[in-house]
């Protein structure tokens, strides 16, 4: 469906963002009082996907960054040895985490231009739909990164899965959402600070440590096939649930903070 949306026009990125916000603003007037929630969510999500499809800013920088991490880490240990399987879990997730921060930092940046975020704020569009749209967009970007990078990891580090491989996608989805939901929220926080690019990892990493530990351990257990990853998967699921709730509860407060 993204291919379809690409064909429908050749507007430059900045006007697209503004137009989307204008539509958002007009929507309540044309629809009757309040715009139906999924529509706002869907419109924002599609706008972000279209912008990304045309510019490919986030994907390009993330993939290149993750590639650099893979190459740099290969110097610190023997990448083809038996130890590689043990370390790979941590390595993959650290690479994804660093790369994800690159994309997360850009989440709100384009909404600042032309005061799009202010337009959102005065519109009656529910704040949480905006948040969910941004989080889902980031989730898709990071998922694409993972799909592209995982084969490279397998090739470069000579990996072979000994445990139940069907668990890996489950861990990836839960882990990515854990990073992305908090990351999107903290990007909105760091938007209001000096040197915002520095701020995001500083507040995101400490909070994400339990989730990161869960992803790394679960991935390691599946790769080595040593024991059951059940505890870590449940931990990740509960972490996702709790922090999604906290994000949705507090997002409107943070968006309206002046």
């Amino acid at each position: 469906m993204r291919a379809g949306s690409v064909k429908d026009g050749s507007m430059s990125t900045a006007p697209t963002a503004t137009t989307a916000a204008m539509e958002m603003r007009r929507a309540p007037a044309t629809e009757k009082a309040i715009a139906p929630a999924p529509k706002v969510l869907f419109a924002t999500l599609m706008k972000d996907l279209r912008l990304e499809w045309r510019s490919k800013d986030a994907i390009n920088s993330m993939v290149f960054f993750a590639l650099l991490v893979v190459v740099v880490f290969s110097f610190s240990f023997d990448p083809t040895g038996d130890d590689a399987r043990r370390i790979a879990g941590g390595l993959i997730w650290v690479a994804f985490l660093f790369a994800a921060v690159v994309a997360l930092g850009q989440t709100w940046a384009r909404e600042i231009r032309n005061q799009v975020l202010d337009a959102y704020r005065v519109s009656t569009a529910p704040a949480n739909d905006l948040f969910l749209a941004k989080a889902l967009g980031n989730f898709l970007f990071v998922t694409v990164l993972e799909v592209v990078m995982t084969p490279l990891f397998v090739v470069f580090y000579n990996l072979r899965v000994i445990g139940p491989a069907y668990l890996l996608p489950v861990i990836a989805v839960l882990g990515t959402w854990a990073l992305v939901v908090n990351g999107t929220f903290f990007a909105a926080i760091s938007l209001r600070t000096r040197s915002r690019e520095v701020m995001l990892p500083l507040i995101l990493f400490p909070i994400s440590i339990p989730a990161l530990l869960g992803m790394v351990e679960a991935t390691k257990i599946v790769l080595t096939g040593e024991s059951s990853a059940k505890f870590w998967i449940v931990l990740l699921a509960v972490y996702d649930l709790v922090f999604t709730t906290v994000c949705l509860t507090l997002f409107e407060t943070v968006l309206d903070a002046e």
């Binding site: 908090n182 929220f185 926080i189 760091s190 209001r192 600070t193 000096r194 040197s195 520095v198 701020m199 500083l202 507040i203 990493f205 400490p206 909070i207 440590i209 339990p210 989730a211 530990l213 869960g214 351990e217 505890f231 931990l235 509960v238 972490y239 709790v242 922090f243 906290v246 507090l250 407060t253 943070v254 903070a257 002046e258």
Partner: protein, 228 residues
């Protein structure tokens, strides 16, 4: 300085001195570890005090989100700052004890790691406060405090599952502590809590005064019609 404040300072100094005496003289020397075990009387009370302060920070942040009073935000910033100071005491005295007893400065054991991670969350809270601009600092900081507090169970559970090497907690762990050691520990905890309360009081007053000054300056520049 006003008399009640001077009395409070005198009481805290007396409590700290008494705690020191209890810890260094009255409490018996531990059989296997020797005198180095006495650092325990500072390490553990600091840890308890720091956890209490972090909890107060969470309560004050929630209070701020509901009421938006300047007072609650001042309490939040105060307890976070003093809490991080006591956390630093915990993190520094721990390795000083661990080196002679375990033979290593640091180990990635559950209790050490989770305390370290917990402290990092509050350091990031203070960094956010320092870096954020304008009037929205309290809201952003309060939101982060809620995240930090929601993270605590995950930090403990995940790292505890990872592995553990720390001596089992004295409270509720069925540890056999000599009564005199108990006394020294509790006296020191009392002294440290009083010390923390005094520090918080000073920091809180400073924060309130600073806000008053900022408000006055803003008002003056408005009246004069020129930036200060």
């Amino acid at each position: 300085m006003k008399t009640p404040v001077l009395i409070a300072i005198a009481v805290v100094v007396a409590l700290l001195a008494f705690g020191l005496y209890q810890g260094l003289v009255v409490a018996p020397t531990e059989q296997t570890m020797g005198d180095v075990q006495r650092i325990f009387y500072y390490h553990v009370p600091s840890a308890w005090t720091c956890f209490i302060l972090f909890f107060i920070n969470f309560v004050a942040s929630i209070w701020y989100l509901f009421t938006r009073t300047s007072k609650s935000d001042a309490i939040a910033v105060t307890t976070a700052e003093v809490g991080v100071v006591f956390w630093s005491v915990v993190i520094i005295t721990g390795p000083l004890w661990a080196r002679p007893v375990w033979g290593i400065w640091w180990t990635w054991d559950a209790r050490l790691t989770s305390t370290l991670v917990l402290g990092l969350i509050y350091v990031s809270y203070l960094i956010l406060r320092r870096f954020s601009t304008g009037g929205q600092t309290p809201v952003l900081a309060a939101a982060l405090a809620v995240f930090g507090f929601a993270d605590v169970p995950f930090v403990y559970l995940s790292i505890w599952y990872f592995r553990t090497q720390h001596p089992q907690p004295v409270i509720g762990g069925g540890g056999s502590l000599h009564p005199a050691m108990w006394h020294a520990l509790l006296y020191n905890w009392l002294a440290f809590s009083a010390f923390a309360a005094l520090l918080c009081w000073f920091r809180y007053q400073l924060e309130r005064k600073q806000r008053d000054v900022e408000e006055t300056l803003a008002l003056e520049s408005l009246l004069e019609g020129s930036p200060r």
